[in-house]
Amino acid sequence: MELHEWALVIFTTVMQMAVGAFVLVGGIHLFAARRYTVETADKLSDRALIAIGPVVVLALLATFFHLGNPLNAPRAISNFGASWLSREIVLALVFTIGGAVFAFMQWRKIATPVVRNTIALVVAAVGLVLVYGMAAVYLIPIVPAWNTIVTPISFYITTFLLGALAIGAAYVVAYWRMRGNEKAEKETQFEIVAVTLRWIALLSIALLGLQFVLLPVYLASLTANTSPAAAESVRILFDQNGVLFVLRLLFIFLGAGVFSVFVYRTAATSGATIRILGSLVLGAFALVFVAEVIGRYLFYVSMVRVGI
């Protein structure tokens, strides 16, 4: 695979992670604000939110490496009316700019929480449509390995799985870096982290289950497809990249399964320390991130067109 395709692996994986993180951080924030105070809820979510920014910018920059003629890049939105590729780019830009505006307002506490929450809700909705738009780009009728409902579903799995674990990791890091707080405040924040991590662990395990149901269904339908293009895709996935295929399954099982179970159980115990909990979450995130990058790499290399 060439450099320009690696750019797509980075862009799609990281952008989906950012959308998932943005949506989930909003949900966690609303939950925490209701249970404690808005100020308490802001402490961790603001830091996690700001971490998403550079990641999105990195993802957008990666796309330039995909273009043969980057000077013409602004033209990429010209065909919004018919091309999902144009729509994807417009949605990505709206999500990025909207997210940046919201993050800035949230950081400086501009406008009321209601106004800010409304903006966040709109940005989150754009992000979720963006994930569909990203998938629609690959619903190409002449590529049997891509033209299936599995493509959008697996993009959404990446969104929420990677987004959830990224947020978990960000909360832990944000908690670590919190300084000079009084003991009671720290205890409240730890409680938020622990409850959040429990939910993240549950979500990861559920999405892992969905992934393991989806995969055999996908492979069965691809194998049943009679076109030589589908057969070639199967050959690429198994014969040519069998080791990566197994590694990906192993990593996602360890990260979203085994590690998440430990996160869930540890977060529920009274003697849980942030050291252990943090290491588990960061480990789960790292494993799933590697698994998703491998998975996306396999997605691109499995592309074989019908015809010549």
Partner: protein, 205 residues
Amino acid sequence: MATLGFYFNSNRCTGCKACQVACKDKWDLKPGVTWRRVVEYSGGNWVANTDGTYTQNVFAYYVSVACNHCENPLCLQVCPANAITKRDDGIVVINQDLCIGCRYCEWNCPYGAPQFDEEQGVMTKCNMCYDAVDAGESPSCVAACPQRALYFGDLDELRAEHGDLAGVAPLPEPDITQPALVITPHRNSAPVGSNAGMLANPEEI
């Protein structure tokens, strides 16, 4: 205005690739870029007869393919930069000044027509030698064919004269893009979607 299309007679083609070379020469195409390609499709096996003897049914034929200037050009529809247009005479052209080099048209074409020029970073494609066509002459591939296997002209007339077959193996289902292409199949030709043979020269396509 009449829609233009290509006509290819597979029975006449010897696979000499004069069409391919004439195209490369005229447009000075770089290594790796081949707008017109000659596909070799072959297959066959030993078949048992009732008397216990075996005969072989090995076959091979050629299909010369370039851009088919489709009536439903997916490349044009998906191009995010609106860099691909269809002329009144049906010729589908890429405007390199507008192309961003994302290669999305390449993914969407079942004929492998749009090809990437690494040096310029933009897509290129058969343009049916519109300069020659506008001057009342033939595209260079058509002019170069020593077997007279390749023609171009008014698609309706070509269909009236030679039928409306627009695909044989290993070409894709014509329904996908409705190519402006008329084929007289080889006497041994396999239908679209057949697994009777295989592409024999993948490195040339």
